[in-house]
Symmetry: D2
Subunit: 476 residues, 4 copies
C-alpha cells in the first residue's frame, strides 16, 4: 500500500549536482538546497551537500529532512563554484555513523565527492577484492566501494573520467552518480540505466539531477537524460560526453514510473503522471464492474484513480483524507488494540462514500496489511462495496538494484491467487494491471525497463545471497 511510508517500498536516494561557470554569480549551495526539496520524496532519512570553493571541498550532512538540516544557520556563508547534493531514505546508525552522503575522500590526486543512487549487485565481491588488497572501509555503503574502485583506477589513468570509465567495467548493478573533484562535475549512469539521471541548464550552469522536477524547482531548463553507460563531464562551463562502451540491455526500473518518481517528472521521455493515468485507464478498459465512485489511495494512487474515472465514466471523488502532520516518531495507542495507525493517517469521507459502490485504486500491493485496514475503513464509512484496483502487476520478486523490499514470503501476492488476496484484504473484488498492458504503456520510454519485481527476470545476473560474503569473516 502506498499510503504509509513505513510499510512501503523505499527508493534509496536522490542525487543532484551543479557547476557554475567562473563569470556567473549563482550560489550553487542555495540552488542545491532548493533542488533537494524537490527530490525529498526520494529519501527523507538523511541528506547532505558538498560544495567546492576554489578547489577546496567542504561537506555538510545530517539526519532528517532537508528543511531541518539545511536551515539558515547551516547554509549561511556556504558558497562556491560547484555543489552536489544527496537525499537518502534511511539513516542507519552504521558502524561509522556516517552513511549520509555525499561522501568525501582524499586520495593521491586530491579530493573526490560522491553522491550515489542505486545498488551494486556485486558489491560484496568488489568489497572483498578491495579488502584483499588492503583496503579498509569505514561504512557498509556502495559509495565507499565505488570510491575505492575509482581511486584504484585513478592510479593508472591521466584523468578522473578515465578512471570512472575503467571502474565501470567492474561494477554490476544500479548506479546513478554525481561526482565532484576540485575542478570537475561528473554524472555517471550505469549501462542498464536502472535509475534516472538527467541534465539541465540554468544561466550557463550545468546541472545534473535524479529527476526533472528538481530542474523545474530551480527554474532550470531540461536538456536531456544521461544515457545508460554514459559519463558526462562538466568543467569550466564546457560539457563532454563519454561512453563506457558497455553493451547491455538498458532497463530503467519500472517502479520509477509506478511509484518512486514525482508525477511532474519526465523520465527517459515519458511523463510519470501520464504513465500512471494511463495505467488507470487500462484498468478501466479491462473492467466492467458497476460502481458509483472511483477514489485513489493518497498520494500515489490518485493519478491512477483519475485515469480510471476518466476512462470508465464513473465519477472521481476524494474518498480518503490524508493527515500530513503525523510524524515519524508517532506514538501508537497500543492499549485499545484498534487498527488505529490507519485511522490516524487516513480518514474516509462519509459524505462521498456512504451508500456507494467504491472503486479504490492504488499503485501497488506489497504486504497488503494496511490495504485491508483501508477497505475496512471504507466499509465503516458506509461503502456498500469496495473494489480494489492496482495499477501495476502483482509484486512477486525481490529487487537487487536499490529498492528495499521485504522478504518474498511477506509479499501478499506470493503464492496466492487474486481471489485469495481479495479475500485477505476484504475487498469485494481485486484486479491488477496486466503485465502486457504495463509493457505497452511504458513502451515509449527511450531505453527499456526492468520489471524483475513482476517477472523474476533481471537485466543482469543477481547474487545468490548478497550478505554472505560480507558477514562471513571476522577478525580472530
Amino acid at each position: 500500500m502506498a499510503f504509509l511510508e513505513e510499510i512501503k517500498l523505499h527508493e534509496e536516494c536522490g542525487v543532484f549536482g551543479i557547476s557554475v561557470p567562473p563569470e556567473k554569480q549563482l550560489n550553487p549551495v542555495l540552488e542545491t538546497v532548493t533542488a533537494l526539496f524537490a527530490l525529498q520524496h526520494r529519501g527523507q532519512g538523511s541528506c547532505g551537500i558538498a560544495v567546492s570553493q576554489n578547489s577546496s571541498v567542504s561537506v555538510t550532512t545530517g539526519q532528517g529532512l532537508v528543511a531541518d538540516v539545511f536551515n539558515d544557520r547551516a547554509v549561511s556563508g556556504l558558497n562556491g563554484q560547484m555543489a552536489i547534493g544527496h537525499v537518502r531514505y534511511a539513516y542507519s546508525s552504521d558502524l561509522s555513523g556516517s552513511c549520509a552522503q555525499p561522501i568525501v575522500i582524499r586520495h593521491v590526486n586530491g579530493s573526490l565527492c560522491i553522491a550515489h543512487n542505486g545498488r551494486l549487485a556485486n558489491s560484496a565481491q568488489l568489497r572483498n577484492e578491495a579488502e584483499m588488497h588492503g583496503a579498509i572501509f569505514q561504512t557498509t555503503g556502495d559509495a565507499e566501494i565505488i570510491s575505492h574502485m575509482i581511486v584504484r583506477e585513478r592510479l593508472r589513468t591521466n584523468t578522473l573520467e578515465d578512471a570512472v570509465l575503467n571502474a565501470m567495467q567492474y561494477m554490476v548493478g544500479a548506479y546513478s552518480l554525481v561526482l565532484m573533484s576540485g575542478k570537475k562535475l561528473i554524472a555517471v549512469r550505469d549501462p542498464n540505466g536502472f535509475r534516472p539521471l538527467c541534465m539541465g541548464k540554468l544561466d550557463g550552469c550545468v546541472i545534473f539531477s535524479s529527476e526533472s522536477c528538481a530542474l523545474d524547482a530551480i527554474g532550470a531548463t531540461f536538456i536531456r537524460d544521461i544515457e545508460p553507460g554514459e559519463v558526462v563531464v562538466a568543467q569550466n562551463g564546457q560539457v563532454r560526453a563519454l561512453s563506457s562502451g558497455i553493451r547491455v540491455k538498458p532497463s530503467l526500473c519500472v517502479f520509477e514510473y509506478i511509484y518512486f518518481a514525482r508525477p511532474d517528472s519526465v523520465i527517459d521521455g515519458l511523463s510519470v503522471d501520464l504513465v500512471r493515468q494511463e495505467a488507470g485507464k487500462c484498468l478501466a478498459r479491462a473492467d466492467d464492474t458497476p460502481a458509483d465512485v472511483v477514489i485513489g489511495v493518497p498520494d500515489s494512487g490518485l493519478s491512477g484513480a483519475m485515469g480510471y474515472a476518466g476512462q470508465s465514466g464513473i465519477p472521481y471523488a476524494v474518498g480518503l483524507i490524508k493527515n500530513r502532520y503525523v510524524g515519524r516518531t508517532f506514538i501508537q495507542p497500543k492499549q485499545n488494540q484498534r487498527e488505529s495507525a490507519v485511522k490516524i493517517k487516513l480518514n474516509a469521507l462519509s459524505s462521498t462514500i456512504r451508500g456507494k459502490r467504491v472503486i479504490m485504486v492504488d499503485d501497488s500491493l506489497v504486504r497488503g496489511t494496511t490495504c485491508a485496514r483501508i477497505v475496512s475503513l471504507l466499509r465503516e464509512a458506509g461503502a456498500t462495496q469496495v473494489h480494489m484496483r492496482i495499477s501495476s502487476p502483482p509484486f512477486l520478486h525481490p529487487c537487487y538494484f536499490g529498492t528495499d523490499i521485504p522478504d518474498r514470503e511477506a509479499l501478499i501476492a506470493h503464492g496466492r491467487t487474486t481471489q485469495e488476496i481479495a479475500h485477505m484484504i476484504g475487498a469485494d473484488s481485486l484486479k491488477y494491471l496486466q503485465l502486457e498492458d504495463l509493457s505497452q504503456i511504458v513502451d515509449g520510454t527511450k531505453y527499456g525497463v526492468c520489471n524483475g519485481c513482476f517477472t523474476g527476470r533481471y537485466a543482469v545476473p543477481v547474487p545468490r545471497d548478497p550478505m554472505q560474503l560480507i558477514n562471513g569473516r571476522s577478525e580472530e
Copy 2:
C-alpha cells in the same frame, strides 16, 4: 491563495478534551495526542496537553508540531483520568514566553486548565477592568483573561460551571473552550457559536473536540455539536448540559466551511467537503467559459475544482504538484530574483496543462500575490488560457473573532473591480462565488453563519481599535 500557508489566513487554534470514567483503562494522553494530529491543520505553531491524574494536574507544552513535541519521551509515563489538548498557529515569543496552551492556573478552589479557540471582541476592556481590581497578567492572551473572569465569578458561586455561566455574561466574541478542573471536564461554546465544538464518545469516555475529524481519528462516535451558548459538564462518566440563556443570533464563522476545517469534518450538520464541492458546482452553473481542463490549487482548492468539473463536464485533472517537504525555515535563493518560492512549493504538470484552456479553482483570494505567480507558472507550462474561479465571495473586511487577516489595504479585492483583480493576477478571467449562492449552500447549517469578512456586517459589536486600551498605559 491557499497554497502558501505563510501568506494565508490563519485559524487560531484547535481544542480537545477527554474524560475517562473510573473503571476504564484508556490512556487519555495517547488519545489526545492522536486527536491533536487530526486537528493539526488548525495550528502548527505550538501545542500542549494537560492531564489530570487523581485530581493532580500536569501540563506539557512546546513549540512546533504535535509530532515534535509529543514524542515517545514526552509522552512516556503520562496517564490519568482526563486530558485536554490544544494546537495553536503562532508561537509568539510573548513577554512570558508561555502563550502555548493549555494554560493552568491555581486559584482558591484548586486548579483550572483552559484550552481556548477564538478571540474576544472586548478583551481590552475586560483586561482593563481586571487590572483595575489588581489582577496581574503574565501573557497577552485571551485564555488568561477568561481564567480571571471565571475565577472572579467562582468566588460567588458554588460550582465551576456556575462561574463559567456567569462569566459568559461579560464575554463578547468567539470562544470555544475546553476546561478541566480536578474532577470535571467542561465544554463551552460562545452564544454566537463562532467556532465549532462537538461532543463524541468512545468506550464510555466523554470527548470534546473542535472538529469531528478528531473523533474519527481516535475511533470515537460523534454525538452532537455543542450548541451556541451551551456549557456541557462531564464528571464521573455523567454529562450535564447547561444553557447560558444568552440570546444572540448564532453565527458560525463561514470560513470554517470555506477553508479552516478539514474536509472530512461535519460542522453544525454540514459536511465541509460537500459545502466546498457545492461551491464549485455553483461557480460552474454561473459560468459558460469554454475550457479544456479544471484544476484546483492544492490543497484547499481541490474540492471546489472537483465540484466545478463535475457540474460543467470539463475534465478534472491534477495540474499542480505540491511539494510537501518544504520547511518553515526555507531559505530562498534571493540572488536570482526569480519568483522561486512558488516554484519550490508548486510545480505545474506540463503533461496536463500544455496547450490547454485551464479553469483554476481556489477557495479564496486574500492578497493575490501568489495567485499571480501560479497563473504565470501555468502559462510557462503551456496553458493557453487561465481562468481563475474563487469558491467564495470577495474578501473585503477584517475579522475580530480569531481569524488573522492582513490590513484592509492589503486585501486585493479592496477597492478593485473583478476585472481589475483579474488583470493584476494575470488571469484571462476571474469569477467569484456570489454571496447569495454561498448563503444558500450553507443554509442547512444548524445555527446560521457569520460572513462579516464578505459583508462587513458582524454578529456582535466590534471594537474601534482593540489595541488602544492595552498599550495606552505604562508604569512611571
Copy 3:
C-alpha cells in the same frame, strides 16, 4: 558534605540588576550575563534576564547554566537601558513550566519584572488571602505572590516604591529582590536581611547584586550593602534610599558565610574567605590531635583547612582531587555495587595521604553519607588515621528562609552524639566548631546573623506546616 552538590544544601537564587543612564553606551545585557556567570554558584538549574528598552520589556529564561542559555545567539541583538538577571538552583517542572525568573507581569500601571532570592515564611497565608480575593496563580513560587502583593498595593499608591513599602508590611521571611518597571530599577532587602544584597557602580550605572563578586567580575566598584528593610530606587542615574520602617532584629543567614557565598565576596562588611579561614583556626585552637597533614574537602572545605593548617602548624596539602567534568546526568555503574559516585567525583592523592594521620576539614555535615565514603576513600589511599573537623556547629534544625534542607530525621546530627556520628562516618575522631566560636567570628557583620539551623531559634515566627494551606483544597 560539601563536595557533592546533589546531596548538599541548596541556596535558592542569585539576583542582579543594572541601570544605564541615558547618555551611556554600556549594554546592560552583556554586563548581566557576565554578572550571572559570577553568581552561578547560587543556582545552576535555570537562569534568565529581563531587559528594558525604551520602557518595553523582553525576557529570556532557560534551563541550565548561564553559558548554555545565554549563548551568542540568545544575546545577539539584546540591548536596552536596564536589565535584571536571575540564577536559580532548581528547574522544577512546575505546573506552568515557567518557574524560571525573572518573571514579568502586566498590571494596570504597566509591566513589572521581578527577580527574587529567599523564601517567605508566610507564603501559604498570603497566597490564600490573595486567592480569596480572586487572584489566580500560574506558578507555585514566591515571586508570583510578591507580584500580587505589590500590584494590589499599587492600586492605592502613587508610585511603585510606595507599593513595595506597603507590601513589605505583610511579607514575613527572606526576600532580596531586584525589581524593574519601565523606568525604575529597585532593590529590596527584607527587614531581617536574611539574604545578601549590595549596590555598586560602573561608569555611571547603578548596579544591584546578591554578592560583591559579581561587581568584581564586571569591573564595577562596591558601594555598600542594601540595609535590611531598605528599598533603593534607581531612575535616570539617580538613587534614592527609602526605609520600610519595620523594626526587627537583622539576621543574615549565617550559612552564606559558611557555604553559600563565594569566598571572594564581602557580605555586610565581612570577607567570606576570612570567616571560613577563621573558623578553621578556631577549630585548630580547640584541638590538639597529633596529625601529619591537613586537607580540605573540595571546594568549600578548603578555606577552613587552610586556616586550620596555618593555626596548628600541621602542613596543609591537597589530599583530594575533584573531577570537574562529571555532569548532572551522570550514569552510575550500578551493577557492581561499589560506592562509585564518590570515586568518580573525588580521588584521594596517595602520594599525600599514604601512611599519614589526616585532619580533614569540611564546612558542614548534613546527611553524612558521602562523608563516610570519603573517609573510606582516604583509608584505601593509605591514611592511618582520619580526623574529621567541621567548621560549623552541628546542623540540627530546618530552615524556612530559602535553604533547601532534608527532613530533620535525615540530618546526621539529629539525635546523635558527636562520638556516634564519628562512628557512623568511620572517622577516628570528629569535632565541630562551637556555636560561641562561630558567633564570635561573625560578630563583625553589620547587622547580625540567623543561626536557626544550629539553634532552632529563628528571627521571625515560622509556620507549623507550610505545605498545609497550599495543598488542602481542591476544586470539586
Copy 4:
C-alpha cells in the same frame, strides 16, 4: 598561562580500553564512561566509545563533554564484552566531519577499532605512500593512517598483533593506542613512550588507560605502565606482552608531569603531584625574595605554589578564585574594552592580597598575555609586589608529538631575557625553574623524558614542514 584553557597548550587525547572475561557481568560501557570522566582533562572537544558485543562492533561519538554525549539515553542498552573510549581536545569540522574517535574500520579480516593519543612525526610521508598505492582517506587524522598501516601489514601476517608490530617499524613519533578487534583488546605504546599508557585490573577484567587516575575512578587496581615499544594483547582474560624490538631512547613528554596529566596520576613510576610540588620547592630553594604570601594560578599552578610555600616558609594562601561556570561560548562584553575575560574567569581575593608582597606560581608561561592581566588584577586588589615564579624552564621550541603549541614567535620566551619577560607581564620579578632542576626532579621516571620544548633537542628526527606534503597536490 594555565588558567585559561583556550590560550593554553593542548594535549590531544586520552584513551581507555576494557576487556571483560566471558564469565563476568561487568558492563564495559559504563566503566568506560566513568573512566572517560576521569580522563576528560585530556580533551573536552569530542569523545566516543566503541563496544564489542559478540564480536559485533558499534560506536558512538559526539561533540562536547562526556557528560553531554554519554547521557542516559545514549548509554541505555549498550553492553558487551569489550569497550574502548577516547576523549579529544578539538572537534575540528573536518572534511568528513568524523574526526571524533574511536574510528572503526572494516577490512579483509573483520573490524578494527582504534583510539589514538599522540602525533606521528612522519604522517605526511606515510599518508603519501599509502595514497600512492591507492588508499583513500576520509579524515586528516593520524588514526586513519595508522589503520591503513596495520591493515596493510595484516595482509601478510597471521595475527593482528603481528601486523601492529610490523607497522610500528614504519611509524615515527608519538602513539599510545588502544585497539579492539572482535576478540582482542590491544595496547600499544610507541618506542619512545612519548605519551603515557598503563594497565590495570578490576574483577578479572583487563584495563588500559592513558592515566592511572581513570583506574582509581572505576575502582580498578594499577598493575604497571605499558613499556615504550611494547604491545600488550588481552584476549579471553589472558594477557600477553610483546616487544617491538625497536631501540630508541625512551622519552616521555615532560609536560605530562608539568601540566597535562592529572595530579593524582602516577606516570612511569612518578606521582604527578609530587613532581609539581617538588618543582615548587626547587623554585623556592633558588629564591630568597622576601614576600608575605605564596599563591598559585588555578588549577595547574597550585601544586607548585604549595611546594614553594612549604619550602620557603612563606604562608600559602588562596589568592585567586576561579569561576568554574564560564562556558566555552562565552560572550565578551567587547564594548568597554576592559580586560574582562580574565576578570570573569578569575577574581583576586583582596582579603588575602591587599598590602602583601605576593609570590605567584604557575606551571608554565607560553604567550604571557593572560599572565600580564593576572598580575594587573593582583595589583588592583592591593598587592604591593608581584613576583612571578614558573615551575618549568622557558618554553622555547615547537612540539611534534601531540602538543598543540603556537608559532615560535608567539612564545613570550622566544628571543627575550627573563628580565624583559618580567617587564612585559608587569611583574616585579620573574624566575623560571632551571632545566637541570627539572631533569633532577623527573630523574626517577622509569624511561626518561623528552624536553624538546625547552631544549630544541628531540628524541626522534622531526619534519621540516609537516604540512608541505599533504597540501601540495590537487585533482585536475
